[in-house]
């Protein structure tokens, strides 16, 4: 490293940063320079090491080897508090706060001056908080409690906290995932302003279009190694994906023309007051129907109602043409329905139980004819699924919590394939999954439709809906607002129907 002038010297220089967890090396000899006043994207699959690197910079983890140099001075970032004092702040995706304390109180957390009996300077605190909010240009009442603030506003409070301690380096770890498009715009505007003030931002995201819109340079990680650092303009999307997955991008985004058969699932006027109303839709055998919309539009609630987790108050459901009553998931399963829920950890996996028990959970009759479990039958069924879906694991008896997110999700899909469902409802099936595994998922879902199953795919990723689905339904504020054929469906037409107020408000029969 040649030390020239102050302005050329990087804000932060990392040299040979390595990190092992329990003997497993997750980060290997990473060298990285962060310039002053740049927005620097870290890209990579889950587990590639980008978050680990960010957490080392933020003092959450200590590196096993390697050094960090801040402003030319070697630093030891031993804890987030040390990081804060060095001017480094990590913005959490879903900020951790004290919900019953006011926004202003949350802003000054960890910065108490004076002894433990010192008077709390309420007035100054509130004034400072207001000033910071004005600086950011956001309208949040600083005297209200944190509880009830949207995630976007909570992130703003975290950013304000970073400004309060005059952070020079702000790390945002997947900040946009829980945000609406409008909130993302606001966040980007603020990020750009912070950059123009000379601050440096590390931006971690899975969404290429966001990285392209916001960032100046990009560093790509793969398997714990830094692969490349480039100006964003010099790389195409295909380049980036190739660098991330280490192989040319396979053309996964296509849907085979499959024969579409009889109606498998028919829903009429399904209503749950206050949540969704007058939902009517059909899904045919071999057809893949997408359900788009913003988070909170009621898509998951409709799926939960169809599957009997939280049944609707009125409306009819027909499976294979027959009217049915589905009061609980076991009734739905008996009718040939399957549901891969959105929140894997809460509604999907049994974290501490073996993978095989997770896979066979929905088919007790198959592994235990007569009530007694036959170990050999269970093992055969589970290992068959593992091979078919290429689930990567060390042992079938391993707790499923030890697998990566993508492999957990595959195991949940395997659970439902064992029930041989007629109708498969997938709720954000690729959320939090590596790009490589995503491609496998798309293939599998495509094959499932080709084998004559009816598939209802709930997704917030527009490219996913556009590439995979024969039809796209859109929900907004609890109502269906569009039923788009493959030809009609575009990013614009879906977003138009998804954003409240943009589309006509009458219900659409699908």
């Amino acid at each position: 490293m040649t030390d020239t002038s102050t302005s050329d010297r990087p804000l932060l220089a990392a040299r040979g940063i390595s990190k092992s967890f329990a003997g497993v090396e997750v980060l290997r000899d990473v060298d990285l320079d962060l310039r002053r006043g740049e927005i620097h994207a870290l890209l990579g699959e889950n587990g590639a090491g980008k978050s680990t690197f960010a957490k080392i910079v933020a003092g959450v983890h200590r590196p096993t080897r390697g050094t960090l140099t801040l402003n030319g001075m070697p630093v030891e970032v031993t804890s987030p508090i040390v990081a804060q004092s060095l001017g480094i702040t990590l913005i959490h995706q879903e900020p951790i706060s004290f919900p019953d304390l006011s926004v202003a109180e949350n802003l000054v957390l960890g910065r108490a001056d004076g002894g433990w009996l010192a008077r709390v300077p309420w007035a100054e605190m509130t004034r400072d908080a207001r000033r910071l909010m004005d600086l950011l240009g956001v309208r949040i009442d600083v005297t209200r409690p944190m509880r009830g603030l949207s995630i976007a506003d909570q992130q703003m409070v975290e950013i304000a906290r970073a400004l309060a301690s005059d952070s020079r380096l702000i790390i945002m770890d997947e900040p946009t995932a829980p945000l609406t498009p409008k909130e993302v715009e606001t966040l980007f505007a603020i990020a750009r302003r912070l950059r123009d003030e000379g601050r440096t931002i590390i931006f971690i995201s899975h969404r290429l279009e966001e990285v392209r819109a916001l960032c100046d340079r990009v560093t790509i990680f793969r398997d714990g190694n830094k692969i490349a650092t480039e100006d964003i303009g010099t790389l195409t999307d295909a380049d980036i994906i190739r660098l991330m997955i280490g192989r040319p991008l396979r053309e996964y985004m296509h849907k085979q023309g499959t024969t579409i058969g009889d109606v498998a699932l028919e829903v009429e006027n399904l209503t749950l007051p206050g949540v969704f109303s007058d939902i009517s839709l059909t899904v045919r055998k071999g057809e893949m129907v997408g359900l788009g919309g913003l988070v909170g539009a009621g898509r998951t609630d409709v799926a939960r109602a169809i599957f009997g987790v939280a049944p609707a108050a009125s409306g009819t459901i027909k499976v294979n043409g027959k009217p049915v009553t589905i009061a609980s998931p076991d009734a739905a399963i008996a009718l040939g329905l399957a549901f891969v829920p959105e929140d894997r950890a809460v509604a999907g996996i049994f974290r501490t139980l073996p993978v095989e028990q997770n896979i066979t959970a929905a088919v007790p009759g198959k592994i235990a004819p007569g009530g007694f479990i036959r170990g050999a039958v269970e093992k055969a069924l589970a290992s068959d699924s593992v091979n078919k879906l290429r689930i990567r694991l060390a042992s079938l008896r391993q707790p499923i919590g030890e697998l990566s997110g993508g492999n957990q999700q595959k195991a949940i899909l395997a659970r439902w394939l064992l029930t041989d469902p007629t109708v498969l409802i997938l709720d954000e099936p690729t959320r939090g999954i590596d790009i490589g595994v995503k491609a496998e998922f798309y293939d599998m879902i495509g094959e499932l439709a080709a084998s004559g199953r009816a598939i209802l795919l709930i997704s917030s990723e527009l490219p996913e809906l556009l590439a995979l689905c024969d039809r796209v339904l859109v929900m907004s504020e609890g109502r269906l607002t569009a039923n788009l054929s493959r030809a009609e469906a575009t990013q614009e037409s879906i977003m138009h129907a998804a954003v409240p107020g943009a589309a006509s408000r009458q219900g659409v029969a699908a």
């Binding site: 398997d223 501490t352 139980l353 479990i373 990566s404």
Partner: protein, 332 residues
């Protein structure tokens, strides 16, 4: 079989390597209980040569056999993610109703039936409040623990209700040299162990206790299973109450007073995880023997009752900490 065990070669970051087999076997709470049991036996036999006499241990066990039986079912309840603190009070009320009925001239089999039905009803009351009204089971059963004991006191006053001479002393009846209550405990251990370990019902108890929301999504009828467990708890408690009546020869409202703590202690010492999802019948089985030997040993060694209580309390706390430590180690 190795092809099935290792279907795909893993890279380091996809999945952590499995633990060596010896660790899987040794680092289990049941192993801890077994080691403690052997140590306790060794220590007790130094205190008194009686402990080398198997018959003596069996006779000592009859004093706790009723609690031990209920502790087996309680283990299943805790694995399912619930708890029941009312069984000792249930034992007292069932036994009071039974004793009252037979004293009023109702034939013995019907009187026993009344006791058992009463136990079932008490279990059902717990179940309804926990499952239908969605009140946490610890609150519900602290409430019914007081309620059932209180009703027993209202019915019996502070009198002892006698049972006929011929009904007294089931603990002194031997089959193949083993007291009948101990045989009942052994049989229950085997049956419930098989149910929990080899049936779908047992498997689903673990799944409910690990993640009830996921269990419901997988079509597991968690409410029905929990209902069954609370009913079984009520039935077994009533049976234990009637067996206790036979052992004591009379029934008072304070029968089995404080027994719920011994039952919880047995389950905890046996490695049942207080937050559900983990535990075995074998663990509780071993812990029951451990507890009997420790408390009998202390009595033989003339340890003051108050100090005995301290020792039991320490055991409970230590077992919970140890179980937690073992599980967090294997959880990762």
């Amino acid at each position: 079989m190795s092809a099935i065990e290792n279907p795909v070669v893993v890279s380091a970051r996809e999945a952590a390597p499995p633990r060596p087999l010896w660790q899987v076997i040794v680092i289990r709470p049941e192993t801890m209980t077994l080691v403690l049991l052997i140590l306790a036996l060794f220590g007790a036999s130094l205190l008194s040569p009686y402990f080398l006499d198997f018959g003596y241990i069996l006779r000592s066990f009859t004093l706790s056999a009723e609690f031990a039986m209920v502790a087996l079912v309680l283990t299943m309840v805790i694995i399912a993610g619930e708890i029941d603190l009312s069984p000792a009070a249930n034992m007292a009320l069932s036994a009071c109703l039974f004793a009252f009925a037979q004293q009023a001239g109702i034939p013995m089999p019907i009187a026993i039936g009344i006791g058992l039905v009463a136990g079932l009803v008490m279990g059902a009351i717990n179940a309804i409040m926990v499952i239908r009204l969605q009140i946490p089971s610890i609150i519900v059963t602290i409430g019914t623990l007081t309620l059932y004991r209180g009703i027993a006191q209202v019915i019996a006053g502070d009198k002892s209700i006698r049972v006929p001479e011929w009904f007294i002393g089931v603990n002194n009846v031997l089959m193949a040299g083993i007291p009948v209550p101990v045989i009942i405990f052994l049989v229950m251990s085997i049956v419930l162990g098989l149910v929990l370990g080899t049936t779908i019902f047992g498997r689903q108890i673990y799944q409910i206790g690990t993640n009830e929301v996921a269990a419901r999504h997988a079509g597991i009828r968690s409410q029905r299973i929990k209902m069954g467990l609370f009913l079984l708890m009520g039935l077994v408690s009533a049976a234990a109450g009637i067996l206790t009546a036979s052992r004591l020869g009379s029934v008072r409202y304070d029968l089995g007073l404080g027994g719920e703590l011994q039952m919880v202690l047995m389950a905890m010492l046996g490695g049942t995880y207080i937050f559900g999802g983990r535990g075995t019948i074998l663990g509780t089985f071993l812990a029951a023997w451990l507890l009997v030997i420790v408390s009998t040993g202390m009595t033989v060694a003339n340890v003051l009752p108050a100090v005995q209580l301290v020792v039991l309390g320490v055991l409970l706390v230590v077992s919970i900490i140890a179980t937690n430590a073992i599980y967090s180690r294997t959880q990762r």
